[in-house]
Symmetry: C2
Subunit: 195 residues, 2 copies
């Protein structure tokens, strides 16, 4: 094999590698798309996470084949969620992914999920109270108060479950728990110690 052949075949190998990485990024994008985020966020995060060195937004845009405008807004949202950060202050600092995603997940669970469950819980309480009033007036055959109470208990259980989950911020917090929970936290511990 000549020197030139070796060079071109190495180049082709690098290209193939890049395309594999892009496919990983696409998979991550599809994955988090099902979690209420946008696929572009997952793709950018994965690209930054797998790249050895920090990347400029322009590099990211070229690698993913999207506009710099899209990368700019998406990466700012990633920064808001603490899933990416610039290597230093200043305007043109390159970006790296934050590999430890658990604080973000925890925040989402604490704010978004909690609020949604809490809203349902409060609405159920109000409905039950109103149903009691209606029953005293001899009305109400339409709505099932027992089932309301069942769902109310469900929201309360979901909330204590959420409390446990957001308590798992540090691996230490999981120590008192079962093997199973420790296994679950390993998912995030793996992210915590990237290499």
């Amino acid at each position: 094999m000549s020197v030139v052949d070796a060079e071109t075949s190495a180049k082709r190998a690098a290209d193939r590698l890049q395309s594999r990485v892009l496919r990983v990024a696409d998979s991550v994008g599809e994955f988090i798309e099902w979690w209420g985020f946008k696929s572009i966020h997952g793709r950018i995060w994965a690209l930054l996470a797998l790249h050895r060195t920090p990347m400029s937004q322009a590099e990211v845009a070229r690698a993913l084949g999207v506009s710099r405008a899209l990368v700019s807004s998406a990466i700012r949202e990633l920064e808001d969620w603490r899933l990416a950060r610039p290597t230093h202050d200043g305007r043109n600092a390159p970006w790296v992914a934050i590999i430890d995603v658990w604080p973000t997940i925890s925040d989402v669970l604490r704010s978004r999920e909690w609020m949604l469950v809490e809203a349902t819980r409060v609405a159920l309480e109000a409905a039950i109270e109103e149903a009691d009033i209606a029953r005293d007036l001899g009305e109400e055959v339409l709505w099932d108060v027992d089932r309301m109470r069942t769902l109310l208990r469900l929201t309360e259980t979901a909330q204590s479950l959420l409390r446990i989950l957001v308590g798992l911020r540090t691996p230490r917090a999981a120590e008192g728990m079962s093997d199973w929970v420790r296994k679950a936290t390993h998912v995030f511990r793996g992210l915590r110690r990237p290499s």
Copy 2:
């Protein structure tokens, strides 16, 4: 208080109760909207779940203030997911909610989540393999193989976690597990025994 007054105040109480129930339905709709479904599905399911008697699609449409067309398509999807069913065969059978939602959640985890994680896992394996080839050719400084391996381990852990979760189909399956897991399954057990 006259008889008429008592009747009208009872009627107003029933109206208020209905509006509270609708607010519960809206809350449930908002909640599941964050889980990749449409809010209309949650609203219909909650309405059916809280109603004492089976409801026709037209009743549901009137109660929620939406078109029958929307209810028709949404309720068929609920049926596909086994979250609602007609009380008997035939065209005009009224509908009830299926309160035990765990089989549906389990199905979603098994199909959707599993596929997404698996796609990422396979893509990571391919990237790692390609990176090894590139390294043998003296290329590759761009991509971080160690981090790929970290993410690969992560997908594998996520898959064993998913396997455990979809194994929780019946409460019995959780018996060998910890208090914590049993607490988690109570969330769904509450649904399992509606009243």
